[in-house]
């Protein structure tokens, strides 16, 4: 069941390739010592090297190289021990030197792959062609003045990893899943924060369409898409535009476009005639980048457990299904939280509670897992209190809500509010008797065959016991009394 768009001439397939630009987490820039913090006052994190002043020269930042290698390893990609920096020459006000230092013919990382999961449960492998390092440009602000543009060079020179996929995707969903997976991977690796709203991760979306069985037709590039949702929308919008062109008898021209979310359509940025000739040549200010194999191996040995491996381990170790495990490994912090709770406890039960009531509670109180009022230890204690029958499941839900609101420890909440589960048979019998006595007509109905009233009685008994009755004992006692 593949994705197609219906045109007037029949169904069309969509072919998608993505170039994702990910800003590297590092203290300083790729070729200068200036800081990389986001959101600082304009032009306060700019060295003379970044600003392209006369006589300035680039010096490579080892940590940026390490981050690129780690990412390549996470992509199951080939690490090129020898790579080279090239100048990509063009003029723009946010590019102080008039060239971007990038890698053209010899990138640091070669072919790799990413596995994506789709909503129908299927798994697909998306090829990665390469990953290379390059400088980010500064920012142009065109809205500060009616007649002038303002340039902020804080971002100029920050290290970017450009991750190029094979044109393996065939639907907006696949494109979205790929970006989501990449984002998850770099966050796990600590090589990029994947924050698309802040621009630390952006996607250039290459889209073409074709009839089934045809070779590839001309593609267009939709640049700088900064959310997963927009990636998916842009794919659809651009595909539809191209289909309309082909079906009108026209030819899709190769060009660069931008996605306008407010209009839900792409518009042309520049045509092939205006296309830049970048005049790539090896940067003579830099030596070839030669990596020590032992150094790269050492990086590999220190990689954290990656999402797919962690998911598989959770399924095996904690006995939880694929989907649940997937939710729990979505973010490293969630996975760590879960494991802290699940260790030595019922893995499936823990999973249900984390994904269900715990997440709901975070949402309700406007918290994230990082600033959760309920710690993993506290949640674990709550589960223990259920396991030893101190409280039942329904009470536990209430206690969790209170924990979310107050940050208090479950034991003290239970004691303070007298929420301990009642297991005393005398009290239970009394409650059963009371409910049956209060509902003679229902009792009669039950006795004449309406068996589902059993649940009604249970509910009433629990109400009578302020919810604190041990459900199993209540059931038993009720069954006995009803005969």
């Amino acid at each position: 069941m593949s994705y197609v768009l219906e045109g007037s001439t029949g169904p069309w397939e969509v072919v998608i390739g993505l170039e994702v630009h990910a800003q590297v987490i590092s203290h300083s820039k790729l070729f200068s010592g200036a800081a990389t913090d986001f959101g600082s006052e304009p032009n306060t994190q700019v060295s003379f090297v970044d600003a392209g002043f006369p006589g300035m020269l680039p010096v490579i930042n080892r940590e940026c190289v390490a981050q690129a290698v780690r990412t390549g390893l996470g992509l199951n990609a080939h690490i090129n021990l020898v790579s080279r920096f090239d100048r990509k020459n063009y003029f723009y006000a946010d590019l102080p030197t008039g060239y971007q230092i990038s890698q053209y013919e010899h990138p640091i990382v070669g072919a790799g792959k990413v596995e994506i999961e789709l909503s129908d449960g299927s798994v697909k492998e998306i090829g990665v062609t390469r990953l290379h390092m390059e400088q980010d440009a500064g920012k142009s602000l065109h809205d500060q003045s009616p007649s002038k543009s303002y340039i902020d060079l804080n971002r100029a020179g920050v290290c970017l990893m450009e991750i190029v996929s094979e044109p393996d995707m065939r639907s907006p969903e696949e494109a979205g899943a790929y970006v989501r997976k990449l984002r998850q991977l770099v966050r796990y690796l600590g090589t990029c924060d994947g924050n698309m709203e802040e621009g630390s991760m952006r996607a250039d979306v290459n889209v073409s369409v074709r009839k089934h069985g045809e070779p590839f037709r001309t593609r267009c590039e939709v640049k700088n898409v900064n959310s997963i949702r927009f990636v998916q929308q842009a794919v659809e919008a651009e595909a539809k535009r191209q289909i309309a062109v082909w079906e009108d008898g026209g030819t899709v021209m190769q060009e660069t476009r931008l996605y306008d979310p407010s209009r839900g359509e792409t518009r042309s940025m520049r045509s092939k005639e205006d296309a830049h000739d970048y005049r790539y040549f090896p940067d003579p200010d830099l030596l070839p980048l030669v990596l020590d194999e032992d150094w790269a191996e050492d990086l590999r040995s220190r990689l954290p457990e990656l999402p797919d491996a962690k998911r598989a381990r959770f399924m095996a170790e904690y006995g939880i299904p694929f989907y649940d495990a997937g939710v729990l490994v979505a973010e490293q912090v969630i996975a760590d939280f879960y494991e802290t709770v699940a260790r030595g406890r019922d893995g499936k039960l823990t999973s249900n509670w984390v994904i269900g009531d715990f997440f709901a509670g975070l949402n309700r109180t406007g918290h994230t897992i990082e600033n959760s009022p309920v710690s993993a230890a506290s949640l674990g204690k709550l589960l223990d209190l259920m396991a030893d029958s101190t409280i039942n499941g329904k009470i536990a839900k209430e206690v969790l809500e209170i924990m979310m609101d107050t940050g208090d420890d479950p034991g003290s909440i239970i004691d303070a509010r007298g929420l301990r589960q009642v297991t005393d048979s005398g009290a239970i019998d009394a409650a059963v008797d009371a409910v049956l006595a209060a509902n003679p007509d229902k009792l009669a109905e039950y006795k004449s065959g309406k068996e589902k009233l059993f649940g009604f009685f249970v509910g009433q008994i629990m109400k009578q016991m302020a919810g604190k009755g041990n459900p199993a004992l209540v059931n038993e006692a009720l069954k006995k009394k009803l005969g």
């Binding site: 003379f48 600003a51 392209g52 002043f53 006369p54 006589g55 300035m56 020269l57 680039p58 010096v59 490579i60 100048r87 020459n89 003029f91 723009y92 006000a93 102080p96 030197t97 008039g98 060239y99 543009s149 340039i151 000739d277 005049r279 790539y280 040549f281 003579p284 200010d285 830099l286 030596l287």
Partner: protein
Amino acid sequence: MLLDLTIVEAAAALRRREFSARELVGAHVDAVAALNPRLNAFITVTPELALAQADAADKALAAGDAGPLAGIPLAIKDLFCTEGVRTTAGSRILGNFVPPYESFVSAQLLRDGAVFLGKANLDEFAMGSSNMTSAYGPVENPWKREGSNAVMVPGGSSGGSAAAVAARMAMGSTGTDTGGSIRQPAAFCGIAGIKPTYGRCSRWGIVAFASSLDQAGAFARTVGDCAVLLGSMAGFDPKDSTCSERPVPDYLAATKRGVRGLRVGVPAEYRMDGMNPDVERLWQQGLAWLRDAGAEIVDVSLPHTKYGLPTYYIVAPAEASSNLARYDGVRFGVRQDGVDLIDLYERTRAAGFGDEVKRRIMIGTYVLSAGYYDAYYLRAQKVRALILKDFTDVFAHVDALLTPTAPTGAFGQGEKMDDPVAMYLNDVFTVPASMAGVPGMSVPAGLDGQGLPLGLQVIGRPFDEETVFAVSQVLEDAAAFSAMPAVRA
């Protein structure tokens, strides 16, 4: 006469307190004031700064902790960014740019106590062989043809640096050499000039022309003075990724080694048809001097010599076209406003760059452009590897090479200006060593038939400046070049 001392002599005399740094520098400041209006060797003169530095040198000398160049007045080619002192690169486009940083090389000189008289004139962005392309006017060579009043060029691009030393306005100067821009003006001005191995000196803070070729070097009236200056200038700088970490040896000591047992090669391909007979004669003379001093002269071949100029004039402009993209009026220098960004760029660069710079940017852009990169730039770099291989192979059999520095002596201002390629031919002997990155030095060896100085070039192995200095010292001793330029005679 203070102005005729060598750096080595002056440094020793200062230590003996025969005179003060203030006196020494003062004499040079006066010489600059007297001669520069005519010779135009300096774009910016800094007399107050120089005298203040001289006073500081005197204090250090008195306290006994003066550096090796304390109180020695130098001219700094206006391609080196000097903190607080206007730097122009010989171009209008930098406007009144005052660098907030000091180039590594000039900082080393300051660290050693040197005094800066001012910024020396040069061909714009170091592109030229005559100092005629400077936006601040040409430089007059202190030498004249016998019986002629015609103004001669000092060579280029470091014309001002060479003229300042030849005219005794400065005791030494810095230059840069990309295709011959130290060696050729040294020859034209009858002084010594050294271009060290690529990577010996840091390029940080030097306005970049061709990154894989540019190298800082020194001018002085003697080989020994050049050795002292280079010793101060050279050394590792972590801010330049192409800079060598090798330790800097004692170059002055190396000048005393002599050449006994050394093998000196004579490359056949440097003998050109119709070569200037004075140049040919001096070359033979140089070989004889070395033979007499105990060197073995060996005929060698550098078969790819003739590709030096064409490959240089592809690679250097290509790198320059990229290095000069930053001069756009946006962040520093002069801006010509436009209706939009492209217009701003076009107006700024049209107004700010001179013709030769524009020519080379266009050549460079062309040879890197789509469809031409493989045929021009890539091919030139491959041939460059062959040029380097020529030197590597030859240096297995010889320790140094002796060639003329330039095909002729200095020419007159206005000559060779209608054909840029005729101008480029000035570099035919210097360019191959630049392409290979090997060190080269020009030593004043004699005069041509018109009384103009001629230089001999010594080329050495990578990072073997010591042998270059040793051979050059023998030539200098034998030549006993004592002729004085017209301006000082």
